[in-house]
Symmetry: C2
């Protein structure tokens, strides 16, 4: 067994222009007021790898172009479509109007498990919130529901970029299974 | 729908002492020469949440106690068991000797998909490597196999803490499904 060579990876890799026009999984990630450019950059990188439609940055999220975002994103901020909307609530309502099911990634009193997505949930918009305070209650109440990652330890949260990666990949996997 | 209150989260939360003695999923994460304390801290936090057995830090990984690790880990570096072994190869051999299947998280010429874990792979040790260079070839050749996260975008990698989170949660989910 050996690692793939850089040339072999390049053969598998979508070109920049192809990536922008390639068919994406019908998943949007709404990010509300995540403070760290490192987290935003890391999420862009995950969004590129997972092949999702779009990121919507809200509130006081740092937004591209910024060197610290691009560096952590390995430039995925130029291959992933993104928007900025000041109010997270407006982003949620906009997605709902366009037919997306909007689920808050949050521990709530009525969430589904992250591996319980169904075909009816797509197109899907997921909402993640601030590193410390999570998603505002006013935004949560606009969502169609919530989805949560199980916690088996002492803490009750993951880093927001890690949580986004876990849930995006799960959402992509479920979507692809439904559409095989 | 509403967010759970802090008191409700506390009720669900394992205490520090319980966490250390709680039955863990039979999964070890070997981390070779990840440079960033931020990534190490974030991985500790994921390891706590996923409820895995142990982290083995190798090479030039920053190791606890360090304030930058604890801060990012939200102190999970005190609830997750960990070891340090200078040579990643020794950590791999040690796990194999103890009956673990050791899989490199890496794009190789013969990897399985991250969602193709089987009951026979447990107890399971996963290896992740440096942010830029990945896992050394000498270590890869000691592993029983490789496991990879599918890449649908322009880039061919995820942030190492994000990749670790995705694969740990997938490994935990698969294990729990096999043992329901």
């Amino acid at each position: 067994m050996r690692k793939l060579l850089h040339t072999e990876l390049l053969e598998k890799r979508l070109s920049h222009d192809m990536a922008i026009s390639a068919k994406k999984h019908p998943i949007i990630l709404i990010i509300d007021s995540v403070r760290s450019a490192y987290n935003i950059g890391s999420i862009f990188r995950s969004a590129d790898s997972a092949g999702i439609e779009k990121i919507i940055l809200c509130g006081y999220c740092p937004i591209p172009p910024r060197e610290d975002i691009s560096k952590t994103a390995l430039d995925a901020d130029s291959t992933v479509a993104w928007d900025y909307m000041k109010q997270c609530k407006d982003a949620i309502l906009d997605c709902k109007e366009k037919g997306y099911t909007v689920l808050a990634v949050e521990l709530t009193d009525e969430g589904i498990s992250y591996d319980a997505l169904e075909a009816r949930h797509y197109p899907l918009a997921l909402v993640v919130g601030n590193e410390v305070s999570g998603i505002d209650d006013a935004c949560i109440s606009e969502c169609d529901g919530a989805i949560e990652i199980p916690m088996y330890g002492v803490k009750h949260s993951l880093n927001v970029a890690v949580a986004s990666g876990i849930i995006l990949y799960e959402a992509v996997k479920a979507y692809r299974n439904f559409n095989e």
